[in-house]
Symmetry: D4
Subunit: 242 residues, 8 copies
C-alpha cells in the first residue's frame, strides 16, 4: 500500500488509478458472489465454497472464477448432485462422501512438521471429523485419526495416550454429551479444538448439549467452534500447526 502511495507521489500513477488499483486487487465480483482472491495471500488458502443454500449453477460459476488462480479449491457441505456437476468440468475433483467435501488440487502445499490428531467420540461423528481431516490435509498438514474413542470406555482413550502426546494440535469431535473434549484437554499439553456435533437424540438438542459441555470445559487449553463445523476446526488447527 505504501508502495502504491509512493508511486502515486512520484507521479507514476494518477489519483484515479490509485483508487482503482486498491479496489480491483482483492476480489472478483460475480454479482451474486464476490470471490476473494486476496485470501490466498492473506491466509495461505483460497476462499472455500460453502455450498449450503447455493444453487449448483452458482457453485460452478464460483469455482470457475476461482480456478483462474492457481490455488487449491475446497467445497464443503456439497451433496452428490453437486459433485457430479463439478466432476464434469473438473475431472480431477475428489469427493469425500461422508465429509461431503470436494477438493480440486492445483498446487502442492509444503507439508508442515507438526501432526494434527483428529479424534471422534463415536462412529456417527465421523462425517464431521472427515470434513476437518480433508480441510487440514489440503492445507498441508499431516493428519492422524482415531475414531470411536468414546467416554463410556475410558480405557480406550488411554490406548491412544501416545498419539495425544505426539500430536501438535488435537481436534476432538463429539456429539451426545461431548465430554470427550474435557478429558482429552486434561491429558494433552497441546491445544485442543472441540467440535460439537448434532449427533444424538432427546436432550442433546441438535448439538446444544455438547456445545455447552465444551464451552464449560474445566480443562484449560480447549476452545470451541460451531456445531458440525469440521471445516472451521481443520482450518484453525492448520493455522496454529507449525
Amino acid at each position: 500500500m505504501k508502495k502504491v502511495l509512493k508511486d502515486f507521489k512520484a507521479g507514476k500513477v494518477d489519483l484515479k488509478e490509485v483508487l482503482e488499483r486498491i479496489r480491483s486487487l482483492p476480489y472478483k465480483d460475480l454479482d451474486f458472489a464476490k470471490i476473494d482472491n486476496h485470501r490466498a495471500i492473506r491466509k495461505g488458502f483460497p476462499e472455500t465454497v460453502f455450498c449450503g443454500g447455493k444453487t449448483v449453477l452458482q457453485i460452478i460459476k464460483i469455482i470457475e472464477e476461482m480456478s483462474k488462480k492457481n490455488h487449491n479449491i475446497l467445497a464443503t457441505k456439497a451433496d452428490g448432485r453437486i459433485f457430479t456437476a463439478v466432476k464434469k468440468i473438473y475431472p480431477n475433483a475428489e469427493y469425500n462422501e461422508p465429509a461431503k467435501t470436494i477438493v480440486i488440487r492445483k498446487e502442492k502445499q509444503k507439508t508442515k512438521k507438526g501432526k494434527i490428531l483428529v479424534i471422534t467420540a463415536g462412529t456417527s461423528d465421523i462425517p464431521v471429523a472427515e470434513e476437518a481431516v480433508v480441510t487440514a490435509e489440503i492445507m498441508g498438514n499431516k493428519v492422524e485419526k482415531v475414531y470411536d474413542v468414546g467416554v463410556a470406555g475410558v480405557h480406550r482413550l488411554f490406548d491412544i495416550k501416545d498419539k495425544i502426546f505426539d500430536a501438535n494440535v488435537i481436534i476432538v469431535v463429539a456429539g451426545m454429551e461431548g465430554a470427550l473434549a474435557s478429558i482429552v484437554g486434561g491429558l494433552a499439553s497441546r491445544p485442543v479444538i472441540a467440535v460439537p456435533t448434532s449427533v444424538g437424540y432427546g436432550a442433546s438438542f441438535k448439538g446444544i448439549a455438547p456445545l455447552l459441555t465444551m464451552m464449560n470445559s474445566c480443562a484449560e487449553g480447549v476452545v470451541v467452534v460451531n456445531i458440525d463445523n469440521g471445516f472451521g476446526a481443520g482450518y484453525f488447527a492448520s493455522l496454529i500447526n507449525r
Copy 2:
C-alpha cells in the same frame, strides 16, 4: 386395608369409622402443611422438611408434629437462622453448614452392607455432595467421599478406581460441564446417580450445561436428578443400596 374392611363386615367398626380411619392414618394436617407419617412405614423414612420458601414458624411446627413419632428428621436447604431456632427446641439437632441440613436423631438405623461413594468434580460442588452424604448416612448407609476429582486431570480419577470398584452405588456431583458422570459411568459396573450443580459461570447457565451433559451421557447405568438436588441423590442411592 383388607383388615379394616373385614372388621367392618364383622360389625366391629361402622361405615363412618371405616372412612375415618383410612383418613386419619396416613398424615396429620397442620392447615398450611400435611405431615405424612405414613411415609416412614412406606419408605423407611419420615417426610423430609424442604425449608425453601417456608417461614421459620412453619418449619418449627412441622418438626414438632413429626417429633411425636419416633423417626429421624431431616431438614434440607436450612440456613443458619433456621438452625438456631430449631436448636433451641431440639438441643440434639445437628447442623451441616455447607450442606445446610439439620438432622434430629430419634432412632438408630441398621447399617446396610453396601457402600455409597460420593464424588465431586470440584471443590465448589461440595455443599451439594454433603447434602447427599447427610441424607444417605441418616438412612443407614456407609458413605465414602472423594472430592475435587476433576476431569481436567484424569489421572486423579484413576487413583480412586478401587473405590469406584468397591462401591455399591456411586453419586457423582459436578457443575461446569459435568463430564465426570460419563467417565465414572464408563468405569463403574454399579449404578451411578448424577447430580448437576449450579456451580460454574458463563454458559453453564446455573446448571443447565451439566444437566444436559448428564442426560446425554453415552455411558449406560447413569441416571440424573434435579440440579443441586443432593438430597434426591442420597435418597435414591439409599433405596437401591443393599
Copy 3:
C-alpha cells in the same frame, strides 16, 4: 492386573508384552468402531449397538465382531431395513417393531428374582416402553407391563396399585406433561426410573416438558434418563434389580 505384574516380575512376560497385553485385552478395533468386549465382564452385558447415524455395513461389521464372543447382542434404534440385513446373516435375530430393537440370543441369562414394572401414560408412549422391556428382558429380568395408565383418569392408576407394590423397580414412560412419574413415585416404596418421551404436541417441545416435570418431581425416589431413552431405563433397572 496384579497377576500380570507378578508374571512380569517372575520373568514370564517381558516389559513390552506387559504393555501390549493391557492394551489388547479390553476391546477390538474396527477402525470406525471399537468393540468393547470387556464390558460383558464389567457389566454382565456386551456393548449395545446404537444404530442411529451408522450405515448398515458398519452395523453388520460391528455385530460380526461381537458375535465372536458368546454374549447376547442388542441393537437399538434399528429400522426395518437394518433388521432385514441382519436377519440374512443371523437367522435367529428377533425384531421388536415398535421398539425398533434387534436381539440375537447367544447365551441364557439367569433370571433375577425381582420384577420390573413398566408403565406408560399413553398409547403413544409404547414404543419407548418396549425398548425398555426388551432391554430388561435380555438382561435376565422378569418384566410386567401396563400401558395407557394415564393421569387424567387417576382411578386407572389405582387399579394397578398392587402391581406397583409388587415390583422391585418401576419404569414410568410418559410424554405430554409427564406427571405420571410423580404420582407413581408418591405411591411406590421402590425406586422409579422416569423416561420422558417426545410424544405430544405444542408446548411439549419434543420431550422437554415431561423432562422438566420429571426432573422437578417432588416425590423422592425418582430419577430421570434422557428423552425417549427406553434402553437406558431398562439397563439401569436391571442394574438395580436383584
Copy 4:
C-alpha cells in the same frame, strides 16, 4: 350510545359534544395512568392496581381517583411499605401479607351460589394461592382452601375428593413440577384453572417447568394463567362461577 346519537339528532346535543361525551365517559386520565371506571360496569369490578413497577405516590393517586366511585378496590403485589402509606389515608384498608394484596371495601357484593376451591401442592405455593383467594372473595365468591396437598402423597389428595366434587370451579396452584393440575383435572368434572408458581429450584426455572406441565396437561378441562398470577386465576374463576 344509541341514546347519545338520538339526542344528537334531536338537537339536544351538538356534534362536538357527541364526540366529547363518548370520549369522557369511560375513564379518568391521571397523566401517568388512566383509571378505567367503565370496567366496574363492564366486568362488575373496578380496575385493579398492579403495584409492581409503580411508585408509592402513583399508587396513592390511582387509589384516590378510584375512590370517587363506590366500588371495591384491590391492589396486588403491594409490599408492606405501600400498605403503610395506603392505610394512613384509607384506615379500613385490609392487608393480606403473604398474598401482598390490599383491599378497600366500599360496597357489599352479592355472594354467588357456587364455591371456588383453591388447592396448593406445597406450603410454599400459599402466597400465590392467597392472592387468588382474596381476589375471588372480593368479587363475591365463597372460597374453600386446601393447602399442601402434594402429589408425592396422592392419598392426601383423595381425602379432599369430596371437596373437589362439591366445588363449582377449582384453582390449582403448584410449583416444582406442577403435576397436581393434571391429577385434579382428571378427577374433577368442573373447570380447573392452573397457576404455575416460581417455587422450586434447579430445573424448575422460575416456573417454566410447572407452566409447561400444565400447558401439556392430558386432562381435559384445564386452562392455564401466567406464572404466579393468583389474581388472574381468582378473577377468571369468579367470571365463570355462578
Copy 5:
C-alpha cells in the same frame, strides 16, 4: 361407592366382588389403551381419541370399544387415511377436513342457551379454530365463528363488537404474535379462552411467541390452552357455557 360398601356389609356381595366391581366399572382395558367409560358420566362426554401417535388399527379398536356405549365419539388429529378406515365401519362418521376431526353421533345433546364465539386472527388459524368448533358443537353448544379478524386492522374487530357482547364464552385463536386475545379480552365482559397456534414464521417459534403473549395478557379474564389445542379450548368453553 357407599352403596357397594353397604351391599357388601349386608352380605349381598363378597369381598372379592367388591374389589372387582370397583375395578370393572370405570373403564375397559384394551391392553394398549384403557377406555374410560366413566368419563361420559363424570364429564358428560366420552373420552376423545387423540389419534396422534396411534396406529389405524389401535384407533379402530378404541372406537369399537367406545361404540358399545351410546355416547357421541370424537377423534382429533385424524388424517384422511384414518377417516377412510373409520368410515368403512361407521358410515355415519363425519369428517371436518381442516380440523382433522371425526365425529360419530350416537345421541342428541340438549343445546345450551349460551353462545360460544370462535374468532381467528388470520386465515391460517382456521384449522385449529374448526377443531374447537367441532368439539363445542358435539357437546351441545351453539357456536358462532368469525375468521380473519386480524389486529393490523383493528376496525375489523369493532365490527364484531356486538357478537363479542352477545357471546357467553369467547375462544380466540391466533398465531404470529397472538395479540388478538388481549384486545378481545379488553373488550369482552365474558371469559376468553386463548389458543396460540403454530402459524407464523421466523421468531414465532412454532407458537411460542403467541403462547407467551397470551400468558402475559394484561387483560383480565383471559386463560390459555396448549399450542394448536383447539379441542381443549372447545371442551373448556363447553364446561363453562350455560
Copy 6:
C-alpha cells in the same frame, strides 16, 4: 365520518344506515378472509397476500376481490404451484422465483427521490433480500442491490462505501452471525433496517443468532424486523423513504 353524522342529523340517512355504512366502508368480507380495501388509502398500498398456510383457492379468491380496486397486488411466500394458478387468471402476473413473490401491476406508482440500498452478507441470503427489493420497487422506490458483501472480508464492504453514503435507507440482510448490520450501521448516517435470515447451521438456530446480534447492535440507527421478513423490511423502508 363527520359527513355521515351530519347527513344523519339532516335526516338524509337513518340511524340503522349510519351504523351500517360505518361498518361496510373499510373492507370486504370473504368469510375466510377480510380484504382491507381501506389500507390502500391509509398506507398507499393494498393489503398483501401472505400465502403461507392458505390454500390456492383461498389465495385466488382473495386476489379476485382485491382486483376490483385499481391497486397493485403483491403476494409473498408464494410457491410455483400458486403462481401457475394465478398466472392463468392474471396473465400479467410476474413471478420472482428466489423471492417467491407474485406481483400484479394495476397502477403506476410515482417514483420517490431517495434510493433504498439492499445489502446481503452472503449468497444464501439473496431470496430474503429479493423479497425486500420486490416490495420496495412495487411501492415506488429506486432500489440498488449489492449481494455477498460479507464480514469476513471487510474490504469488500469498503468498496461500497459510496453506495452506503448515497442511499437514503439501507436494508441489511444477513444470516449466520448477522454482524454486517452493526458494521453498516456504524458507517451509515441514514437509517438501517436489519433482517436476520434463517441461513446458517449449527448454533445459528434458524435465525436466532443473527436476530440477537442485530437486536444488540451497538450501532445507533439500526432497527430489526422478523427473521426472513424481507417484505417487512421493504415495506418499512418505503414508509421512511422520501
Copy 7:
C-alpha cells in the same frame, strides 16, 4: 480525504503526516475509551455515553473530552451517583430521574417539523419511554407523549387516534405481552418503532415475551429495537423524522 491525498501529492504534507492526519481526525483516544468526534458530523449528534459498566471516573473523563467540541452530550443509564459527580463539573447538566439520562446542552438544535409520538402500554413502562423522549428532544424533535394507554381497555387507545394520525413517527413502549405495538401499527399510516420492556412478571421473561410479540407483529410498518432500549428508539425516530 481526496484533499489530503492531493496535498500529499503536491508535497505539502509528507507520507507520515498523511497517515497521522487520517488517524487523528475521527476520534480521541482515552486509552480505556475512544471518543468518536466524527459522529457529530456523520450523524448530527455526538457519541452518547452509555454509562452501564463504566466507572464514574471513566464517565467524567469521557464527558470532559467530549466537551471540547461544541455538541450536546447525552449520558444514558446514569444513576443518581453519576449525576451528582457530573453536576459538580457541569452545573447546567440536567437529569431525568425515571429515564436515568443526563443532558448537557451546548448548542441549539433546529426543531424539525414532524412530531414524534411516544406511547406506553402501562405506567411501569414510563422510564424507558422517557429515555426515548429525552433522546428525541435533544436531537431537535417535537415530542408528544401519552402514557398508560393499555390494551385491555382498547377504547383508551381510540381516544388518541387523532394523535396517532397527526404524528410523523410513533414509538410504542410496552412490556407484559407487548400487543400495543401491533394495534397501533394497524391504525397508523406512519412508521412505528416498538420497544419491548422488561416490565412484567412470570412468563414475560424480562422482556422476551413482548420482544417476540413485536417481532411477529402482523401489522406492516413496525420495527423493533432491543429490550428497554428507549435511546435506540428515540435516536432512530429522529433519523426518520423530517
Copy 8:
C-alpha cells in the same frame, strides 16, 4: 513409568511401592482439593486457583500447598477480601482489580517471541480482557492491548490494522452483539480467540448473544471460549504463541 517398572523388576521396589509411587507422583491431596503439581510439567504452568465458590480458608490452603513448588501462581475471580487475606501471607502477591486476579511470582518465565494482541469492543469489556492479559503475561508472553475499538465506528478498527497484522495471536473480547470477532477475523491472517462477555442489556441475555454471534462467525480462524472466560483465552493464546 518405564523406569519404575524396571526398578520393580530389578527388585529395587516392591509391588505395593510401585502402585504407591504412581499414585503419589502427580498431585497432593488436600481432602477438599487436589493440587495438580504435575501440570507445571505437562503444561508449563501450575494449576490456577479458580476462587469462585471456594472459601477464603480453602484458597489459602491451596496456595500454601502450591507454594512448596517453585512455580508462579495465578488466582482468578478473586475479590478484594480474598486478596487481603493472601497478601498477609504472600506480601509479593499482586492484585489486578478490574481483572480480579492475584499473581504470586516465583520464577521468571522466558519471554516468547510472538506478540498477543488483546482487543475489546467496549470500555465495559475491560475486566475480562485484563484477566486474559494477566494470564498471558504470567505465562511469558508479550501482550499489547487496545480497548474500546467498537464496531459502530469501524474506522477506529482500521487504525489498529498494523497491530492486527503484527500480532501472532489475537484475543477479541466483546459483549453486546459481539460482532467485533468476525470483523477482526476477516482482517487477520493469524488465529483469533473470541471471548463473549456478559456486558450488555436486554436481549444480550448475559452473554448468549455475543456467544452465538462468535460461534457463527463466517470468518475462518475464529474459535470461542466460555462467556467472561478471559483466563481461558489468555491460556490458549499462550499455548499457541511461539
